[in-house]
Symmetry: C2
Subunit: 619 residues, 2 copies
């Protein structure tokens, strides 16, 4: 991205996240971040979920020319159901090199595997297939440890939330993960050719996840910049990344991204297939599409967006919409159907596509090609007709033990959001829902990370398993480095708000730790516990730059005399002195009695309170 | 604010808002903004609600030394129930000048009225009092015209929304406004000494409003900067502004703000009263507080936040909270109660306070001094005990026909937001609810305009009448000019999302107009119809700066070949050509038939589609 600070050609963003320590938990060494709090807090470090991979580990050696270590290599091969095959030969059209060379200067990844993995004849290597046969894979164990985050810290935990029928356990066992995957309520995207990925689950009974989209810039950019888009997005919390690159060099760019990605990578194969026919949708064929699936499967793509629900009869339903068809894939298939007046080949060849998916364990992300592109088009006949078709396809994929999630809208006013969740659960048998926002109004371009963050938090609460981020540049332009960060952090807070509201056992730990830090004026802890410590400290310092202000027991908003938190501390001290039970209602009379004594104590010592008003503090 | 561009001493931000034209509607000349659309759209101008006052009117002469014209002067005096009295003499302590002069350089407003208005002995000049006697005031008529915004444009309108029991009319009549005010379901804050204000209503059956807080900076700032904070906030959409100034020169600063404000101004009188006793809460007395009310009433403050619900018995309930008492006013009163082991004088003198309010038509904003300051403290006993006391006080204020709204939280996870609304409606007899956010998680300092924008949109949908904005600097520092704008726009979009979800008849007009502009690539219309045209255009230009790009029929995200909206237009053209009814479901068979003919037409003309792929466009 244009504004990435100049750096040596192949360097990406590395180093610990401010205030965090990389830790590796359990026999599988599950990566997490530990946030150490000031000794005065008397609190243990808080462990938080970590998507940033080895890039934030000072002990890891990062060389994007070599790629990341193959965490899952032995797990995959150890199952004895895969074989090595020659990788399909890369052709010029794979990189959009039809006609004259339009290379943007992206060199091939130097460390390409010549031989790739595929399921042995007749075998099925999907996590769902193992799960349904009762096998708990290392991937499932890894997910269990990762999701349990902090649950072991919980004492006499009282569940507080409304989960709308979800089944969030107090403690996640590997067996629970297996059962959720077997039932299709969760997926673990894990292509056998992407052994670098750290297993994660997408499902309504796990932490709400977020996805960030990246893509090669129209302006020629070097590979380090392309890889850094990935590294930057996961640094701030992206759980998966979709590579939506189009045009030139997309095969090579994708190879660079996959070999250096610790998170699952998703793509929309129809984009590349369209490039192979020079952008003329009606010239797309099943053979070209199928070849593209194999190409990407062998590279290690973990999930495919397939717009198989855009059926011929639904297309005319969009004619009177305010914004018609706004999905690229959806419009490409609509155009193909119109040109050939035929049913979509994605729909007709669906079972053949599934055959390919199961040979690599690629998950479906069934695309909502007819999603609404405006408030006016929300929840209409075209949208829901497609949704019910996606439900039918879900069952067909499950019949072959292939993992599935369902893509959702889009633009939806608040009062129509829950209907989307309810219909999806019903139509798709609780397969994970993966939504884009939804945006709750159309009138704020430039702020669509917020119009959609509102809808994302709500639909996440209702049961959506993964939220696809929206940046401030949505509808207007290409996001830069800052936009990606703002988009990711906005969606991270929306996902967390959803986890809180669902009553996720571990979610509240971080809020409470930060609020205690806030109340006790532990500024550094407050920064370090936040989703974006750098911005929090920078904002604080704009008003009170002095180092001293970071330990001062008052803040810039109220100043020393007005600090309500100081006064509250007095309330607390008095209540304590009186040994009075302060948590239950006290009738006015009793209170007066208790207060009488307190007041004397107060008038003796209390006047001292403001002696140190300009920073010095009474005890 | 530090980053206000240098300008002549007493200049503030003026000039039209980009793409808008100031208009004045009806006999009362109600100010609105008309957004003209490109001729190609064939659409009439869209009228939008306008809070920016004369500052955005090129025909208005702005002189902050003189103040704004007195729009309501004749209405107020024409009722014959007010008398002129000598203004209470300004004392040094009113400006925090106790002891040595600490003047920050704020000169007195040059155009102070020596004589101010007060109700004649025995009279009650509140809008509620008129309403209950069946009188429709010009203020009510002004509100009716202002709220009807675009409703007259609606043809065969079908109500679409969930209003949770609100009673939003298809058309707002002056009689409807009168009835809502009479019932206490809406207020029109309108101090008879603030004739410069443009009447507006705060109520569940009207458009959701937003408030912005401003305050004198700790760093000495000149009066133009203080006034410009107001002008800047209303320019982007603040419906009311609260002056939370503390310390020095607050009397004079408030005079400058009131004389130049077209929106109602709210204050928290206890802040100034505390200054008058040198910041020692326990030295506050009823006499000092009462004198402060008179002082601010005569200046023209339209609503007072009064923390009369912080009762002695509730204070110990906060002792075991994670963040105790976070309201300044609440903690000041808690401290006073503790020091004197007495019930709050605000509670005990409530009826006397009401006597003062009705003599000037000042509305109560009953403060939630015990609101939760963290997710952990949401919806607890202290909070709801206070809420029910506020309900009791509401009825006492209504007994004297004084207008009331109720302040609400704070920090509340999504699953506990609706309970706040439901309890408020029940406890306070549908008096308007006015909430701060609520923030839906504590873990994102630096992004609390978003954590709270989520809660604000939801509680606005549930029935909250006004949303108090939160800026990105919340919890960290003092907002600058950019923070104020981001906070206001974020809350404006949240309020609009709420209006949409409630099914407000006029709300959807703007979304639809913008979405049509988006679909038809009318970029300038898209910018002009947005809440922040400047940011929208700036973001667009970062990717496609060329003027041509503003009329190009594709956008930077997809490029010419991928434009799904172009393809949708084809779907639409074909559907039209076939004269087929495209809005109802078509079975596959019929569709195939219809499509057959379409496909021929397509293969003749369709191939031409991409001839102009790099910007030139087919018709």
């Amino acid at each position: 991205m244009a504004d990435i600070p100049a750096r040596t050609e192949l360097k990406v963003t590395t180093g610990p996240i401010r205030g965090s320590r990389k830790i590796h938990v359990g026999p599988l060494k599950v990566a997490m971040r530990a946030i150490d709090l000031e000794p005065s807090s008397g609190e243990p470090p808080l462990n938080v979920y970590d998507t940033s991979g080895p890039y934030s580990d000072p002990n890891a050696r990062i060389d994007i020319m070599a790629g990341l270590p193959e965490l899952r290599r032995d797990w995959i091969r150890g199952r004895g159901d895969v074989e090595e095959v020659e990788q399909r030969e890369v052709r010029p059209e794979d990189n959009g090199q039809l006609g004259p060379d339009r290379s943007g200067g992206v060199q091939p990844f130097p460390n390409v595997r010549r031989r790739v993995l595929r399921a042995k004849a007749g075998a099925n290597v999907s996590q769902m297939h193992y799960a349904r046969r009762g096998i708990v894979t290392p991937e499932m164990e890894y997910v269990a440890t990762r999701e349990n985050l902090g649950r072991e810290m919980l004492r006499d935990y009282v569940r507080d939330g409304e989960s709308f029928g979800a089944a969030i356990p107090d403690y996640v066992t590997p067996e629970f993960v297996r059962d959720e995957v077997a039932r299709g309520r969760a997926i673990i995207p894990s292509n056998i050719n992407h052994p670098e990925s750290e297993p994660m689950a997408i499902g309504r009974n796990f932490l709400v996840k977020i996805n960030a989209n990246i893509g090669n810039s129209a302006v020629a950019s070097n590979v380090a910049q392309e890889v850094d888009k990935l590294v930057w997005a996961i640094r701030w919390g992206a759980d998966t990344v979709m590579d939506l690159s189009t045009g030139r060099n997309i095969h090579d760019t994708r190879e660079w991204i996959l070999r250096n990605s610790p998170v699952p990578i998703g793509t929309v194969p129809i984009y590349q297939a369209l490039e192979k026919v020079g952008g003329i949708a009606e010239e797309l064929t099943w053979e070209i599409f199928r070849d593209t699936l194999i190409e990407q499967a062998e590279q290690g793509v973990d999930y495919f967006t397939i717009h198989a629900g855009v059926r011929l009869p639904y297309i005319p339903m969009t004619a009177k919409r305010v914004t018609g068809i706004v999905s690229r894939g959806g419009s490409i298939m609509a155009k193909w159907c119109l040109a050939h007046h035929k049913e979509s080949f994605l729909y007709e060849r669906f079972d053949e596509i599934t055959e390919i998916m199961k040979a690599y364990d690629i998950a479906y992300s069934l695309g909502d090609g007819l999603r609404p592109g405006s408030i006016a088009d929300a929840n209409d006949e075209a949208q829901f007709s497609e949704l019910y078709t996606l439900g039918e396809l879900t069952k067909r994929a499950w019949a072959q033990d292939v993992q599935v999630m369902i893509e959702g809208p889009g633009h939806v006013p608040m009062h129509k959001i829950k209907e989307n969740m309810d219909k999806q659960l019903e139509a798709c048998g609780e397969a994970p829902f993966y939504t884009l926002g939804p945006l709750t109004t159309d009138i704020a371009p430039g702020y669509d990370h917020i119009t959609s963050g509102i809808g994302a938090a709500m639909i996440g609460w209702y049961g959506t398993a993964m939220l696809c981020y929206v940046t401030p540049k949505e509808h207007l332009g290409l996001p830069d480095r800052d936009d990606v960060k703002v988009g990711v952090v906005t969606y991270k807070l929306a996902a967390h708000a959803a986890d809180l509201a669902k009553g996720h056992p571990a979610a509240k730990l971080r809020d409470d730790a930060l609020s205690r830090a806030r109340f006790e004026f532990r500024w550094r802890d407050q920064f370090n516990l936040s989703l974006d410590p750098e911005t929090a400290e920078q904002y604080h310092d704009q008003t009170l730059p002095a180092e001293g202000a970071k330990t001062a027991h008052f803040c810039s908003m109220c100043g020393p005399k007005f600090c309500s938190m100081k006064i509250t501390q007095e309330v607390r001290d008095f209540a304590a002195k009186q040994n009075q039970e302060a948590t239950t209602f006290i009738a006015a009379e009793e209170a007066e009695a208790g207060m009488a004594a307190m007041s004397e104590a107060y008038n003796e010592g209390g006047r001292e309170l403001y002696i140190g008003a300009n920073g010095r503090e009474h005890d």
